[in-house]
């Protein structure tokens, strides 16, 4: 019933290429020696992930990813880099002393996760149908089924906004 894992179809080849771009730029984010380049590689990683969502027929999620991650989060990161007067250019001390241990932990995590996932989902096959992730479908289910968490999230965003303003203002003192 399910097609064989090899050779991959055209959709899977496109997905794998985008995934290679995403993982490669993620590796550059965590290994580059220049702070600003890390933020720019993050853009490449999020863009490739948006492409992955598009291949998986989740159009609306892909555009939200482009708008919020590439548009807002990375710009916030760049503002943070700028406001903390980070050194521009090559800096040697971006990594802490436990790089080797971190690499061991990350490799162990990757090995365990990949083994389990490949073993568990070897035969799982998801046929792709266009339209299941369109804005109309998703909007319908957000405002019918998931409207309560949606409203709670809007309150959470307001709280985060006010919290960020209060934390970053200097002229608000405590009592006494």
């Amino acid at each position: 019933m399910t097609p064989a894992l090899w050779p991959p179809t055209a959709q899977e080849i496109v997905f794998l290429l985008l995934g290679v771009v995403a993982v490669g730029s993620a590796l550059l984010v965590v290994t580059t020696r220049q702070l600003v380049h890390a933020a720019l590689w993050l853009v490449a990683c999020f863009g490739a992930l948006a492409g992955c969502y598009l291949v998986l027929t989740a159009e609306f999620v892909a555009w939200v990813q482009v708008l919020i991650y590439v548009g807002a989060v990375v710009v916030l990161m760049l503002f943070g880099i700028m406001l903390t007067r980070a050194p521009i250019g090559r800096t040697a001390d971006l990594d802490s002393g436990n790089r080797v241990l971190a690499a061991i932990v990350a490799l162990a995590t990757a090995a365990v996760l990949v083994t389990v996932v490949v073993d568990g989902f070897r035969t799982a096959y998801a046929p792709l149908e266009p339209g299941t992730g369109s804005a109309k479908t998703l909007g319908g289910s957000i405002f019918r089924t998931w409207v309560l968490p949606f409203e709670a999230l809007s309150v959470l965003l307001l709280a985060a906004l006010i919290g960020a303003i209060v934390i970053s203002r200097t002229d608000i003192k405590g009592r006494e």
Binding site: A26, V30, V61, T84, D95, A110, L113, Y125, G163
Partner: protein, 119 residues
């Protein structure tokens, strides 16, 4: 689309994020690595939503919610980082050790590397 492909890509992204959180010293780079891990989870959610053909679109809606929460987290996190920078003139995680246990008579620099090795 075999579910294995997105799942493996998401595993690799997640472990890249784990490496970044553990190995980086600059707080903003740690925040970026946290974003990588959140994105790995999002990719999983979308892939499994497509696989299970959820009538309520639970996976994709939860992906949108995670994106919103990540945006809020970055906003608050950067505000905290800026407050720390204003008070300490540094955002190196290795130097923010006021909450750690004083460990014997080791000099400060060695304490940093020794404590870092444990984490």
């Amino acid at each position: 689309m075999h579910v294995v492909y997105p799942a493996v890509v998401s595993c690799l992204l997640f472990s890249t994020g784990v490496y970044g959180v553990l190995a980086r010293r600059n707080t903003i780079l740690v925040l970026m690595s946290v974003e990588l891990m959140l994105n790995a989870v999002n990719l999983n959610l979308v892939a499994f939503d497509v696989w299970l053909r959820d009538q309520l679109n639970g996976g994709q809606v939860l992906t949108l919610f995670v994106i919103v929460i990540a945006a809020a987290e970055v906003g608050i996190g950067l505000a905290i980082v800026l407050a720390v920078f204003r008070n300490r003139q540094s955002i190196d995680l290795d130097r923010l050790r006021e909450l750690s246990e004083p460990s014997g008579d080791a000099p400060a620099v060695e304490k940093v590397t020794a404590g870092g090795g444990e984490g």
